[in-house]
Structures are given as structure tokens and as C-alpha cells.
């Protein structure tokens, strides 16, 4: 492989970026100079362009009917609440919540609460006993196993 006097090595990544016009002017100039003296990189660039040119143009346009159906579905599924709450309503709600909270906190402890904390069940679990998020994810995936196998058995798409 011949080399240009300024560029000592061939860098395929630069050819990809050169093809997509993603090099700055200095980088572009470097590659252009390198290409003048490097037949292997010229060939590689030509092949890169040819390969990418083979890729299909993805005309992934939904039909007007499909889009209309989609729009209707989204409109149907959207929550029916109104937002934002008007400031006055919002403040009133916040005040009512605060009053309720204060009343709850100030009320005496009910007598039926278990006294012996050592033997009674804990109300909240300690953070250590919370399930691992990864475990939850795997459990969720395992729950999907039946569905996937069923779909596979039916020969439909997963």
C-alpha cells in the first residue's frame, strides 16, 4: 500500500466519516491527501460507497388510512383529564391536603397497634429487602415466556 507523505496509516473509520461528510475541514483535507497516495483506501472508499448504495431506500410511509386509524386510536387512548389545574384550584387542593396531613399526624396513636415491635410484622420493608431491579426485569421477562412460547407455537410473530 502506498502512503501519502503526511498520513502514515490508513484509518477506515475516517473513510466512513468522510463518506458521510462528518469530518471537519482539516480532517477532510487529510483524507483527501491520503487518498491521492493510497490506492487501497481509494478502493475501500469506492466499495464502501457501493455497499451503502445497495441498501434499500426505506420508503416507510404509512398509508393515509393507517395514519388516520393511528390518530383516532391515540385520541381515544389519551387521558380525559384537563390540565393544568387552575392555580386557585391547585392551591386549594394543596391546602386541603396539608390540613389533612396535619390532622393525621396530630391524632393519637390507635391502641390496637402492636406494642411489641420485635415480634410484630414490619409496616415497611427495609431497603435491603426490596427486590433487585434486575431481578424484577428478569421476572418480567420470564412472565413473558409463556406468551412467547405460545406465539412461537402458533407460528405468529413474537
Amino acid at each position: 500500500m502506498s502512503q501519502s507523505p503526511r498520513i502514515s496509516s490508513c484509518r477506515p473509520e475516517n473513510l466512513t466519516l468522510f463518506h458521510y461528510g462528518e469530518l471537519d475541514s482539516a480532517g477532510r483535507l487529510q483524507v483527501e491527501e491520503h487518498l491521492q497516495g493510497c490506492a487501497a483506501c481509494r478502493k475501500e472508499l469506492a466499495e464502501l460507497r457501493s455497499d451503502l448504495g445497495m441498501l434499500p431506500k426505506k420508503d416507510l410511509d404509512f398509508s393515509p388510512r393507517q395514519i388516520r386509524e393511528f390518530n383516532q386510536r391515540v385520541s381515544r387512548l389519551r387521558p380525559l383529564h384537563r390540565w393544568p389545574l387552575r392555580p386557585a384550584v391547585g392551591w386549594s387542593l394543596a391546602a386541603a391536603t396539608a390540613v389533612l396531613l396535619v390532622m393525621t399526624l396530630k391524632s393519637p396513636v390507635p391502641e390496637w397497634l402492636p406494642v411489641d415491635q420485635g415480634t410484630s410484622p414490619q409496616i415497611s420493608e427495609s431497603p435491603k429487602s426490596l427486590p433487585d431491579p434486575e431481578l424484577l426485569l428478569n421476572m418480567e421477562l420470564i412472565e413473558n415466556l409463556d406468551l412467547l412460547q405460545e406465539l412461537e407455537g402458533m407460528g405468529t410473530r413474537g
Binding site: 473509520e13 466512513t16 458521510y20 462528518e22 464502501l48 445497495m54 434499500p56 387512548l77 413473558n144 413474537g158
Partner: protein, 193 residues
Amino acid sequence: MNSRTEKTLLDRIRGGDDSGFEYLVAAHSSRTLALAWRLVGNREDAEDIAQDAFLRLHRSLGGFRGDSSIATWLHRTVTHLAIDHLRRRKLRDKIFFFRRSNEEVDPMEFVPDSGASPGEHLFAGEIRQRLDRAMLRLSARQRVVFTLRHYEEMPLREIAALLELEEGTVKSHLHRAVRILRQELQDLKGESS
């Protein structure tokens, strides 16, 4: 949709005008659906992702400050949802050895060139299958970077900002994606010439 129209529309929606949101969906659904489809390569999944994005938009409209346009917001949300979706799909495939390579191709996904001969149709179909297969070999980020750069023609700088990655990382993702795609097409090259 210009920013002034968008602002007027947002005010209408916040004021309780239901038709405003419907108008917003109608204005953006086509592009949002197409982007989601390109990113995940499956029409049904694309519809789910686009729908999720619009419902999230609806939930966020109350606090939407207009720092970015609705289109940009949707673009970013769809891209992140697509990455999550692709990662989950990859993990699922790994756990259950559930191969989707032959199921991935949706014959309706590509519009054939009406002027092409039957032989050209066959060849184009083969390339599409290879492309889908190669896409499955890419990581979620590689796939998204390639799709955004190659098909959406989005500059890498913008992709980096969108994905909150270094530009150098995005460049590497693009290069690796192109290399994997080219490997998959390698033996077809002789037939095309």
C-alpha cells in the same frame, strides 16, 4: 408547524380544547410513525412506540415550556423509546434463545420499485433480508445511530446531543454499524455487478 402556531395550539389544549391535541397528533403522526418504524424495523412495534410518545406528550403538555419544538420533543422521545425497546428485545432474545431473524422481515415494509424487473425484485428482497439480519447484530445504539445518520440524514453532532453521548462515541457506533452491515452484504456484491 411554526412556533407561533404551535404556541397557539398549546394554549388551546391547556385551555381544555380537545380538538387541539387531535390536531397536534395529526400534524406529527406521519413523521413520528416513520421514524419509529425505521428505528425498530417493525410496523407494529413502531405504532406502539409512536403511540407511547404521543401519550407521554399529552401528559407533559401542562408543563411544556417550549424549550424545544413539539417535533424535536417527539423525535427525542421516540428515539429513546426505540433504544429501550431494542434493548429489551435483544435481552429477551438472549434469554430465551428466541430467534427472530426470519420473522423480522415484513414484506410490506418496503415499497418495491415499480420499474424493476422480477430479478431485481428478488435481489432487492435478498438485500432487505440481509439488512434486517445485520440490523439484529447491531447494538441498540449502533442501530439507532446508523438509522438516524443514514436514513434520517441527521448530523452526528445532533445525534450525539440527542443520545447524550460524546461525538467520538457516536462516530465509533456509526463506523461499527457500517462495518457489520457491509460484512452481511459481502457475498451479494458479486451478484449485483
